[in-house]
């Protein structure tokens, strides 16, 4: 086996890190929604896809505005969050009393609906969004070029993670969210409006997915099918890290990102198998994930 050039290895690590940050954005929303609402949201990948399409659409709307890309990201991801609120309030709420399987399948029905919805509106063409003007160009790392935009993403990921960690641990809303994850009935009897809390959680989760899609638009092509591709990876991330565990999701994203980036170098044919083997191993040895806690009986 010939060893790859070390500088190339570094670049590949950084690519993995960039991918990990996108995965983290999507998976943390997925994990948050599962932790609090107990619903595994298949449509999370669809929300990510919508975030990317909305951003593409809005960038062309804000052509003459300074900072057009950032406005598109903000409004695009908020539009996705609004869709999330509609889903939760009008469709998921009546299903809370039903079996988990019904909720799961409903979110899968949403996957089917959103994927065709996107095909009807945007067709099957590939789109891409150009990077914002200040972040065009690349930085020289050990003689290799690495896009500035990706560096910003790598820095943005941990910032968002810390922000969330702070909100969850040190604010009133954060405390309520953590309490709802443990015992929603008790929280309700303490006088907290649990159904409003659920809506807020879904709003935030959907917003994260939308943000992931919006930010990924300059680096990856916007195509139909990106929803199905990302949702399985997001599942892998939350399963490895631990369903409902916040830092677990971060760790899971880092692992999956690196496995994809380096696996392609070391054993290109096996990297796809390897990631699922990793998922299966974690489930067999430690079903609640690396940093998660065993599921409590309710």
């Amino acid at each position: 086996m010939t060893l790859p050039d070390p500088s190339f290895l570094v670049i590949q690590c950084l690519n993995g890190l960039t991918y990990a940050m996108f995965l983290f954005l999507i998976a943390s929303g997925l994990s948050l929604i599962f932790g609090v609402l107990g619903i595994l949201n298949f449509a999370h990948g669809s929300l990510y896809m919508l975030g990317a399409y909305f951003t593409h659409q809005l960038v062309s709307l804000f052509v003459d505005t300074p900072g057009q890309f950032w406005w598109a990201v903000i409004f695009g991801s908020l539009a996705v969050a609004a869709i999330g609120v509609i889903i939760e309030r009008f469709f998921l709420r009546p299903l809370y009393v039903r079996e988990e399987l019904n909720q799961l399948l409903f979110t899968y029905a949403l996957v089917l609906i959103f994927s065709d919805f996107a095909r009807i509106i945007w067709g099957t063409d590939q789109f891409s969004v150009s990077r914002p003007a200040i972040l065009k160009g690349a930085v020289d790392i050990l003689g290799q070029y690495f896009p500035k935009y990706n560096i910003v993403i790598i820095l943005l990921g941990p910032c968002i993670a810390f922000l969330f960690w702070f909100i969850l641990l040190h604010t009133r809303w954060g405390r309520m969210i953590r309490a709802a994850a443990l015992d929603r009935e008790m929280l309700g009897s303490l006088g907290v409006n649990v159904s409003r809390l659920f809506t807020v959680v879904f709003f935030v989760g959907a917003w994260m997915a939308g943000l992931g899609g919006a930010l990924v638009s300059p680096v990856s092509a916007i195509v139909p099918g990106m929803d199905v591709e990302v949702i399985v990876n997001a599942f892998i991330v939350v399963v490895i890290g631990g369903l409902g565990s916040f830092w677990g999701t971060f760790l899971g994203a880092l692992i999956v990102g690196q496995v994809y980036a380096l696996g392609i170098l070391v054993f290109p044919r096996l990297s796809l198998v390897f990631i699922y083997v990793l998922m299966a191993l974690v489930l067999i040895i430690r079903p609640w994930g690396l940093l998660g806690r065993p599921l409590q009986k309710r």
């Binding site: 065709d116 399985v232 399963v239 299966a280 489930l283």
Partner: protein, 308 residues
Amino acid sequence: MSKQDWFLIPIFLILCLVPLSGSRFYVFLATDILIFALFAVSLNLLLGYTGLVSFGHAAYFGIGAYACALLMRKASIVFPVSFVAAGLFGALAALIIGFFCVRLTKIYFAMLTLAFSQIVWAAAFKWNSLTGGDTGFIGVPFPQYLDSKTRYYYFTLAVVVVCLFIIRKVVNSPFGRILTTIRENSERTEFIGINVKFFQLVAFIISGFFSALAGALFGIFNHSVFPDFLFWPASAEVLIMTILGGMYSFFGPVVGAAVVLFLRMQITSYTQYWPLILGMILAVLLFFFPGGIVGFLQNRLTLLRGNR
């Protein structure tokens, strides 16, 4: 056959007469429906009867399809042997995968079945020399003595009827009752001295065997096998058929397969947006008919009888 099953006789007779309509379209559709009916019923042995949500059942279907096609083409083994071997391969895969999966519950069970099916999918996708990879394994012929659509249809009908009969025997046996008990309350079942995991594993293996037979039937019917057979949306599709038809009745999944495939055939001739329609049907059903089509009909029937 019990009294309640009288309705099966006319349905069977109609199925026997399908090729006489002279329409290749209906023969094609009926074969498709029969194969997926078998697949959905074998999934339902786990889902409706044992209460285990498998999100990776496409794996056994795909393994059966690949095994039968590969044994026939690459090892030149005669069809009947390849066909049964395909089922055994499915059972073996279910034994290995199920061994790990039954240790987990609920969402973790579903996730692990998904992970394993994706491993099988990735292997089929990347192992070009064996499976043909992305382009699939093309050119699987009909076996010599089944070399027309009509003959193959009758063969499929016979296999599916026999398999459904066996599965029906299984669910009505004491073994089947234990599975239902596990579904209702696995803790209490454990308390009365039943090895829950063992029974779940056996159900898993039986389900894998019949799913693989369905896959083997489909691979030949389709004349080719693709990695897509194993990809997770395929697992979701058969779950949808099962739930749409009704997971708490034996023939619910059969009705679900028939409805989904018939509608797909009809709707795809008008529009390419079949997933959108399926998604909407599924959503409406989950909201208004949580017991599926058969569950809904059974409810109405009991109501009618009660009013008399």
